[in-house]
C-alpha cells in the first residue's frame, strides 16, 4: 500500500455514515472510563452492575469476562467491517458476541468453577449486555481496529470500575469484608441489607445521587460565575 493510498483511506474514514469523528487514540480509551462511562453516564449494563455486585470478587470476575468479550468482539467486528453486509450486520454481531461469551463461560466453568457458580447465568447474559452490541454498532463496525480496541478497553474498564466500586461498597458495608478479608474486625455488625437486592438498588441510587449532587454543584458554581 502506497502512502498515497493510505491517505485516501484515512480521508475515506469519516464517509462511513454515523462513524465517530476522528479523535486521538487515548481519548477513545478515556471516554469509556469517564465522560461516557457505560454504567454511570449511559446507564447501560445496569442488570449485571446490580445483580452480581454483592462481592468485590464477583465484580472483578464479571468485569474481566466483559472486557474479554468486548475487546475480542470489537476487534473482530472492526476487522471484518468491510466483509459483513449491512443488512445482516446485527445478526452477525450477535453471533460473534455470543461465541465469545460462550467461550468465556466455558473457560470460567473449567478454571474458575466457584466464581462461575456465583455469577451463574449472568455470564451468558453478557450477550444481551447493551454495552457490547452498542459499541459494536456505534463504534467497532465503523472504525479501524486500533480505535475499536481502544474504545473497547476503555468501555470495559469503565464498566469494571463502576462494578468494582459498587461491589466493594456493598461487600464492605454488607459484610465488613473486602475480597473475603475482614476489614472492620469481628465485632462489626454487618448490614445484610446491602448484599440483598434492595441494597443493590440503593447503592446504585446512591451513586447516581452523588453524581447528581456533583453536577448540581457544578451548575450552581457556573451560575454563580455567570452572575
Amino acid at each position: 500500500m502506497t502512502t498515497e493510498a493510505l491517505t485516501t483511506a484515512e480521508a475515506a474514514e469519516p464517509i462511513v455514515p454515523g462513524a465517530p469523528p476522528p479523535q486521538p487514540l487515548w481519548l477513545d480509551f478515556w471516554r469509556g472510563i469517564a465522560d461516557d462511562n457505560p454504567v454511570m453516564i449511559q446507564m447501560l449494563g445496569l442488570c449485571p452492575a446490580m445483580a452480581i455486585s454483592n462481592q468485590l470478587a464477583n465484580g472483578l470476575g464479571m468485569g474481566a469476562a466483559t472486557i474479554f468479550v468486548l475487546v475480542c468482539s470489537s476487534l473482530l467486528i472492526s476487522l471484518l467491517r468491510s466483509v459483513i453486509p449491512t443488512e445482516v450486520r446485527l445478526a452477525t454481531y450477535i453471533l460473534i458476541i455470543a461465541t465469545f461469551v460462550t467461550i468465556s463461560d466455558l473457560v470460567m466453568q473449567a478454571y474458575f468453577p466457584l466464581l462461575s457458580k456465583t455469577l451463574g447465568p449472568f455470564v451468558p447474559l453478557i450477550v444481551v449486555n447493551c454495552i457490547i452490541l452498542g459499541r459494536a454498532e456505534a463504534f467497532a463496525g465503523k472504525v479501524k481496529p486500533m480505535r475499536a480496541m481502544a474504545d473497547a478497553f476503555g468501555m470495559g474498564i469503565g464498566f469494571t470500575l463502576a462494578l468494582c466500586t459498587i461491589s466493594a461498597f456493598r461487600e464492605l458495608v454488607g459484610s465488613g469484608m473486602l475480597l473475603g478479608y475482614s476489614i472492620f474486625g469481628p465485632n462489626y455488625e454487618p448490614w445484610v441489607f446491602m448484599i440483598m437486592p434492595p441494597g443493590g438498588f440503593l447503592t446504585m441510587g446512591l451513586m447516581f445521587l452523588v453524581m447528581g449532587w456533583w453536577s448540581e454543584r457544578k451548575k450552581a458554581k457556573l451560575a454563580g460565575v455567570a452572575a
Binding site: 455514515p17 453486509p85 468453577p113 454498532e137 445484610v192
Partner: protein, 222 residues
Amino acid sequence: MSGHQHGAPAAPTPDAGSSTARLLFTLAFFGSLAGAVLAYTYQKTLTPIRKFAGEKVEIAVKEVLGSPARLDTLFLVGDTLSRSVPAGVDKLEAVKVFIGINDKGERTGVAVEEAAPGFANEVRLMVGFDPATRALTGFKVLAQSETPGLGDKIQKDSSFVARFVGKLVTPLKGDKNQTTDPSTVQTITGATITSKAVIKVINKAVDTWKPRLDAYAKEGGQ
C-alpha cells in the same frame, strides 16, 4: 437493535444492496465458524468442568459419610436401584445414591442428594444417613441462596451442621431451644425457616430413599 443507540442510523449499503445469496452465505459462514470454535472450546474445557463437578460431589459425599474407605454408587432406574447407569443418561447427571463402605467391607451409610424450597430459593443438600438405624451421619449444602449472615449459616456455621450428626430421623423435628431429644435439632435463631427447610430436606431424603434401599437390599444386592 440496542435501543440505546438511536444516534446511529442504518448505514446505506455502499454497493446498492448485497445479494440474498451473499447474505445467507455470510450468516452461514459465521454460524458454522462459531459452531466450530465453540465445539473446540467445549472439548477442551469439558474435562476440567466434569472433573470439578465430580470432585464436588465426591467431597460432599466423603464429608457426610465421614471419609469411608470405599464408595459404591447405585443409579436410580425407574423406581429401583441398579448398579448400571440407565441408558442414554450422562453418568454425572443421573440420579444416584452413594454407599459408604469401611475397610472391613461394612456399609457405614448412604449419601443422597435432595432439595426443598427454603426462605429465598431451593435448598439442595447432600444427606448422609444410615438406612438401618435412620441415624444421620451428616449433611452438606450443595446449593442455597438464603439470607447472607443468617440463613446461610446452614452452610457456613459448622456448629449447626454438627448438631445434626447422630440424630434419628423418625422424623426429625426442629426446636428453638437446646434439646436432648434424639430426633429434635435446635434451629438457628432468626433463621427458623431455613433451619426447617434443612430438616424438611433430610426427612424427605430418608423417606424417599430408605424404601428404595430396603427394596434393593431385599433383592440381594449389596
